[in-house]
Subunit: 107 residues, 2 copies
């Protein structure tokens, strides 16, 4: 899978509305056949920062995502709400789901 | 760097206190010389789920983390607050910081 973690710094005046602002893009992406997950969380340290954890089945699915109409729309509608260019770490991994953190196993 | 994204499902009765419950472990880990970042965020879809995005300078720094006293302590103190074994995706990447998501560049 292509595993992606990104951080979005939202303008303070838009931070509380970010779930709503990003909803259309989120739902459209989750609807893509190659999207494994596309999940947002809100930073504990900085409430204007949202973390996006995404995964796509393979490179083709990742390419389909960035070539989709909803991605192109988001490229216009999302940046105006951001303080800075989002940060990202992404790579291909030889697994298609999460692993278990055995060191913190729950019996 | 060793880049790690993990998801922790917290018992509902402990979910709001999770920042406090995890504080000691978080601060000790951030104090490790090889820790680049160790940041929590709270899921928008499921408020009992917290996402942890961590990075360690290299394999040795990652090993030092899991062999540390505070990690061993956390292995006892954290699981009792969890619903299930945490999920994780981790791997070594040939970079030591975040990249920029150019497709959503903020001018």
């Amino acid at each position: 899978m292509i595993f992606i973690t990104a951080k979005f710094r939202i303008k303070p005046e838009d931070a509380d509305r970010w779930p709503e602002i990003s909803r259309e893009f989120t739902e459209a992406t989750r609807g893509e056949p190659g999207c494994l997950w596309f999940d947002w969380s809100r930073s504990l340290d900085d409430p204007t920062e949202y973390v996006l954890v995404e995964a796509f089945r393979d490179g083709d699915a990742g390419a389909a995502h960035v070539q989709s109409e909803h991605f192109k729309t988001a490229q216009k509608t999302i940046p105006p709400h951001l303080v800075s260019t989002p940060k990202i770490v992404n790579f291909a991994v030889d697994q298609d789901d999460w692993s278990e953190l055995g060191e913190m196993a729950v019996e």
